[in-house]
Symmetry: C2
Subunit: 428 residues, 2 copies
Amino acid sequence: MSEYDAVVVGAGVIGLSTAYHIKCKHPSSRILVVDKFKSAGQGSTAKSMSAFRCLFSSKVNYLLSDSSVDFYFYVQSQLSVDLKLAFVGYLWLLSSGEYEEMRPILNGLAASNLKHEEYEAEELAKRLGLNVHLAGDEEAEIIGLKDVYKGVFIPKAGIIDADCVTKFYEEEFLKLGGEIRYGVKVEDFLVEPCKPLGLPGEPFFWQESRVSGVKANSGIIKAEKTILAAGAWIPQLLDSVGIECFIKPKKRQVFAIEAKKPALKRLLFTEGFNSVECIPFTILPRPRVLVRPFPTEGVFWLSYADDFPRAFKLEDEPQPEKNFYEYGIYQVLVKYFPQFRDCHPYSAFAGLYEINTLDGHPVIFEEKDLIVVGGASGSGIMKADAIGRIAAALYDGEEYAVLYGDRKFKVSDLSIKERRVEREKLQI
Amino acid sequence: MSEYDAVVVGAGVIGLSTAYHIKCKHPSSRILVVDKFKSAGQGSTAKSMSAFRCLFSSKVNYLLSDSSVDFYFYVQSQLSVDLKLAFVGYLWLLSSGEYEEMRPILNGLAASNLKHEEYEAEELAKRLGLNVHLAGDEEAEIIGLKDVYKGVFIPKAGIIDADCVTKFYEEEFLKLGGEIRYGVKVEDFLVEPCKPLGLPGEPFFWQESRVSGVKANSGIIKAEKTILAAGAWIPQLLDSVGIECFIKPKKRQVFAIEAKKPALKRLLFTEGFNSVECIPFTILPRPRVLVRPFPTEGVFWLSYADDFPRAFKLEDEPQPEKNFYEYGIYQVLVKYFPQFRDCHPYSAFAGLYEINTLDGHPVIFEEKDLIVVGGASGSGIMKADAIGRIAAALYDGEEYAVLYGDRKFKVSDLSIKERRVEREKLQI
């Protein structure tokens, strides 16, 4: 039973960012990261769409994302660590109703310096071979699809490699002397009295007690602070000690389509939106099917974040569902982008979102010497740096965290007890 | 596959109160209640402390409880249905710190007509054989027990028989022509598209869909509205369709001690507090061990609602833990009431609280034709009538429910989306 200053549960992008930022501030502290997988980022991090945007309706989400993206860009451009970050932009295709909903959000963000451009439907039709008029198409009407009225293009958005980001934090953490043990599965927390009496059966309910480490398949690991950054597995572990975190796991699926046909290849490498000369990450009108370009692989990734009646369910190996593509995504996609007709996925994968059901923001709080860092709700990679810095500030008992770019953030704003965030309206 | 106007899942006190109040307003509607047990109120209802108080810090909780208690008293006194309701009162024993916390709450409730009386520690010592001075007692100091500074007595509070209340609603519901099927275990919801296309695999994610009944061990039961009132089992069922309710199950234990010894018998039948001439329901200083008199049986019921690290855990047959009494409750109890020295429980039982982790109030909301009624957080029996009336108003799409005593209540105040309640500070 070795004693650490901190043990971090979870070597996903959030856990490693947190471990790295703590270790930066405490080079001589013993910080251990444990993960049940055999290497970093093999849980939901690996199953991500690996894209980023700073377009959120909530100022907090905007700040978390914007400062993290600035940091990643700094890492890639100044530290010459290739994160495969590319500002391909996000293109939101909006029906007229959605455009009206989006306008006030865009106007609000313009004040925060987020730039955007608007496109008329006809121009997008020409540039992308996009079908913008669906009125009269019986199938589209049954599905409930609306005409594209406008497109909103966000240049500060794009794609990144989740694995490269994770590896960056892992390597930097190790360089600083941090320790990582893979293949260590945490089964429960170790709970001990703050003032042990040496009696069997402690802690009794009249004793103050605390989380003093974890019980893992490899044995007990004791620590001054235990940091839970296990993504979708957080609520299950917290339930075992009766702490609420307002996080629920939900499956998300990604389907990969090769851009083999000339028409699809032309679509993937559409010019004029970005310096990569590829189609932006594109969001169709409701239901918001997502099209992520993967230009280096000559591939599209397609996804859709379904709500009711998709279960909140923790699965160790969530599987993509063929019919989710065939009867779901494909039916919507092909109406707007006829280039996809008869295209079927050559591969697919599924991961788990760790959805914060209160307001769609991360939760970062401490209770009983246990620090919980999670609930990124499907935008963990694009916010991981900021989340790690805030968790590190909480670890130090600081009131404010300083995010990349010298932006101050009040740590308690993402806590449970003094939470202060507006509900996010742009979850996709 | 028969079609009902409403199917209510759960024949506990909340489910039956809801079914009864809906049926009252819709005598010709087909309302079915199903429950996995063989008779009414066999889940957590049967495991309750069966006590009531109107003392809550939140005005909403006060109103729910106060109006329900008024209704139960009306049923017993005017309809001559014996609910074994007795106003034995609640006696809160408070340390000086707790008294300071309680004072503003009592002052606020005085405005709502809730009467209370204060007792000096010395008088309680005399009347109850209560040990009010623990300073200097080494064990008490280790446990962290404080001197009793004052007692606050609430006359409009007491004991009731959960089974009698449940049976009352069951009988009235049946008299009105309501249907109940016992031994029917709901395993999942039936989800169907609002506008079926007749395609296999429906509903697809681009279709609007709704809960159209339940899948039970006995087969499918279809209904216009499905009402989920399954207590601690609510979150598990809702998880299967990805709806958040902010309810977590937690085990609660009750230990029964016979008042055999003369000193204990004297304590149980303490005179001067109420017309029953028994000790009030008594709450010790923190940790708040609860002492419920059961004068007709010559018994005390003892309990304690432990928090961290007690798990949020759903168990079909939660068991009481011997050591929870021996090393927990007993150690605290005997310091204040030495009459309990060497007393051990002759029986014990455990049930599940359905804790609302947002604010300690019930949740009553509708989503996709599914009405959720739960989260009473350990005070379901004393609020069941009001909760049933509010759920019935929601069923009718009314903005306000009328509680017993002609008190109006805004239905959306207990919803998830437009929730408007202050966090409850007096959960015990």
